[in-house]
Symmetry: C2
Subunit: 132 residues, 2 copies
Amino acid sequence: MNLLQRLVLSAALSCAILVAMSQTSAQAADAGVYRHVVLFKFKDSATAEQVKSVEDAFRKLSTQVNTITSYEWGTNVSPENKNEGFTHCFLVTFKDKAGLDVYLPHPAHDAFKAVLRPHLDKVLVVDYVSAK
Amino acid sequence: MNLLQRLVLSAALSCAILVAMSQTSAQAADAGVYRHVVLFKFKDSATAEQVKSVEDAFRKLSTQVNTITSYEWGTNVSPENKNEGFTHCFLVTFKDKAGLDVYLPHPAHDAFKAVLRPHLDKVLVVDYVSAK
């Protein structure tokens, strides 16, 4: 091999290793994380604007607690009719239980609950450490 | 710049682009996906072995339906006592609603339900398209 061939081969190998490391890191991020699953059913009296104010407040909350590693939500679209009236699902992820322990008593969480409470009919919370 | 410098610069740039593409692809995988959230409460009569047989059967099911893009589960560890008796949470992810439409009537799903049903007290299902 001449110098040029060696350089190209070395660059290609480094590149493959970096891509592999990057992918492993992305996949590992979801293994064994602490999931906080929150379901809401709003009062029949809650208007669309009031429901949206809660959705916006939860999104804001997710940016205010730095132990939250990922946040997503959506409204129920299941065709199975087994949602027990719950219309909203929020999936809040922490690295571990210590992340939740920062979140639960956080002042931003209290502020969110003040927005939520007047419009909430019922809530269900399940947390789990993700396994495959 | 001489040829060597150009080669090294070109390799470094290609590498950076490939790593960036790889990371974008991993992140995009979770945006706008179809989440199927399933909660179980088992009968008081269900033994630890029977509960484990359901856990194993669900894990097997997750490998039998090729529209499932990711699968995870865990048992409730929430300190909030708002789980309404549900002890198990399963998070089944599809690319879109069409993925669920393959899953729900799949023979492997029926086989799973046959394992589950004798031990199930109640179930709750919420599906959502993930938003940030």
